[in-house]
């Protein structure tokens, strides 16, 4: 059962992401990305990492994709993107080799074996509870920092996308200066 689900999901995810990567249409790409994300959350559920699956679903498929969608609308990117994609061979070579490398590493017998869990929650808790416990004890600080990071992202997003940036103060010459810079050029 698990195997079937895994393979189905895997193939679908891979296929969808391939579409994301290779599609000419930005809408398709985004849709397949979103779908892939959803399916990944499915994988998480299979693994019994319920909380993660939920977060994946909410944050990725919800928030992130929504952001992308807004961005896409802003960019008026519904039409096909004309890309002069760089030579496929080098791309495939590079990504193929990295896949091989990764597989080679992951195939090592030591991976995931003989490891004692270090960070565990109290026994008998389900996944979400366990994560909650850990998140607010062990990973409290990363959690807080992540909050700041999101704040930073928010401020950054606001600053970058705001009207303030439309006119660059760095590029105009202000008259507050006694000397006229243009004159200096002569």
């Amino acid at each position: 059962m698990e195997a079937i689900a895994f393979y189905t999901f895997s193939i679908l995810i891979t296929g969808l992401f391939l579409v994301t990567v290779f599609s000419r249409n930005i809408l398709y790409a985004m849709s397949s990305l979103a779908a892939g994300m959803v399916l990944i959350s499915g994988l998480f559920f299979i693994m019994r990492a319920d909380f993660l699956g939920a977060v994946q679903l909410v944050v990725y498929s919800g928030a992130i994709m929504a952001l992308y969608a807004f961005g896409m609308m802003f960019f008026d990117a519904t039409r096909d993107v004309k890309e002069k994609n760089s030579s496929a061979s080098s791309v495939f070579l590079l990504s193929g080799i990295s896949a091989v490398i990764l597989v080679a590493i992951f195939a090592a017998p030591a991976i995931g074996e003989h490891i004692k869990p270090l960070v565990t929650a109290a026994k008998g808790l389900d996944n979400t509870q366990a994560i909650g416990e850990i998140l607010f004890t062990k990973y409290l600080i990363p959690f807080e920092v992540a909050a700041v990071m999101l704040l930073v992202a928010m401020v950054a997003g606001i600053v970058l996308a705001s009207k303030k940036m439309d006119q660059s103060l760095s590029e105009i010459y202000q008259d507050a200066d006694p000397e006229n810079e243009l004159k200096e050029q002569k």
């Binding site: 895997s10 930005i26 992308y68 930073v152």
Partner: protein, 101 residues
């Protein structure tokens, strides 16, 4: 036939490479960002799988934070994209090559 850790890891590896291919291939910055999301997701899968496999929660936490990071990156990245879109009117990275040499 049981699905072991290595299955997930290999899936992760494949997805990582798919994402990598996208990053290398894409010229449209927005779509390039999509590809980076794929790569991060690949890592997430691996983390979750290892975490579940060994019964340690750090991996899942890591995945959680990666999701947060991905979200933040999207926010900043989109901000930057909007900025250059306003200036250049396009998201094609080939146009961004004033600086070279």
């Amino acid at each position: 036939m049981t699905i072991g850790l290595s299955h997930y890891l290999i899936l992760s590896a494949i997805l990582f490479s798919v994402g990598l291919a996208g990053v290398l291939r894409r010229k449209n910055l927005l779509m390039l960002f999509f590809a980076t999301e794929i790569m991060l997701n690949a890592a997430n899968i691996a983390f979750a799988a290892i975490s579940v496999h060994i019964g340690d929660l750090s991996g899942q936490m890591f995945a959680l934070f990666i999701i947060a990071i991905a979200a933040s990156e999207v926010a900043v990245g989109l901000g930057l994209l909007i900025l250059i879109y306003k200036k250049y009117g396009t998201l094609d990275l080939d146009n961004l090559s004033i600086m070279k040499g």
